[in-house]
Assembly symmetry: C2
Homo-oligomer: 235 residues x 2
Amino acid sequence: MVPTKVKNADTSALIERDGKPLGKAGAKPRPLTRIQREKQNVILEAALEVFAVHGFRGSTIDQIAEVAGMSKPNLLYYFPRKEEIHRRLISELLVTWLAPLREMDAKGDPFPEIRSYIRRKLEMARDYPRESRLFANEMLQGAPHIIEMIEIDLKNLVDEKAGILLGWMDEGKLARTDPYHLIFSIWATTQHYADFDVQVRAVLGPSRGGEGRFEDAARYLEQLFLYGLTPRAKS
Amino acid sequence: MVPTKVKNADTSALIERDGKPLGKAGAKPRPLTRIQREKQNVILEAALEVFAVHGFRGSTIDQIAEVAGMSKPNLLYYFPRKEEIHRRLISELLVTWLAPLREMDAKGDPFPEIRSYIRRKLEMARDYPRESRLFANEMLQGAPHIIEMIEIDLKNLVDEKAGILLGWMDEGKLARTDPYHLIFSIWATTQHYADFDVQVRAVLGPSRGGEGRFEDAARYLEQLFLYGLTPRAKS
DNA sequence: AAGAATTTTGACCAGTTGGAAAAATGTTAG
DNA sequence: CTAACATTTTTCCAACTGGTCAAAATTCTT
């Protein structure tokens, strides 16, 4: 039978050409079939698993295909190149990743806001460790795939939130300090529990390294950010 | 000319067999030549550069050889397998990496001790970012090569230092809190400046992302760990 | 300067990797 | 049911990978 060169699938190639999204200009994008949607998700899920551990270069299509439970050529039918899978994961990631910070609200009071920001970030480290590691891997490599997004979207967001923090400081509701490094320290301390999970578990040992470690971390961080380590009079 | 099967070089194979060090039992280990010492260092340096960015699997011998300025077979003459290079880097790393924590002294006072521990860690992030990233890469992958060292040596060290911190808390010189998570938070906040350097620079922008960022970080962290973010009366 | 040892090179190899092509099999709208 | 399309499998390939080997070049040692 004549090959009938696939016309659907490879949706990423339809939605974006040359790496740039093209609105609805492309020839009738024809909606995704049920199977396409399902399989793409299976693949992205598997790829997240693999990329998070081995990074882009260290991961192979075969590995991803195996985790996804399909053959390599079959996988390549949905995502014609390895980079495409990675790109998709990374761009979806950034949106999710910044969501907690977006929620920080100037109209609230600093401590409840900061406190719940830390909680949310810690929950993400607990519930989405693979995403955290994927992000960390990308950073370690110098963020080759998302450097512009970091320099523009992320920077703008942080600038905005730093402004809010400064406002609170001006009102005397928050200690005067560097708002950027403040945000960094929240990122660092929370993501640590996802990225360095092995180390955390190993050091805490079997007795304290179980599920409770996130609650312990939340309690500790809350105190750290509120009062630091200076001893206070007993209440 | 008859090949005269290399007798020297491949020192790692002489010093350790089957991955385990064997004292001086091996047949006369014959001291390293000048060239051997030099080239091995060049290779380790190059490998650090490459492994730190791409992880073990994502790095190739060719890449390392190129950075080291030699041919692949030549490199393999000094380190007969890729794993050998990595092993050497990782085991040297752990010693260096734990040194700052080792210095924390029970006989000192908590704040000077913690303060200078933070300083030292921050200096390491600044001066040895590749080591930090190599370590981070290893952690992200679940520490396959150093898990026992983490579970034993690192755990013991942290247990000991957590004991010191608890002692200070008992004396009322330090806020009562979780000493393990306290140590984690110092690791996280300081290593962040090496591992997420791209992000830090991008967010701070050209004006504040220069060399001064480590000084700013040091000042911020000092305040965070001392007082937290609660505003204090002006002095 | 000669001989022995060490270091470097170039050619090569088997296994892996990302990916192409085509054929075979499913699915579904009319 | 069947044509048109969607999906999957099989086969294949060129480039890359970690690593070998013998010869050539260089560096000691005496």
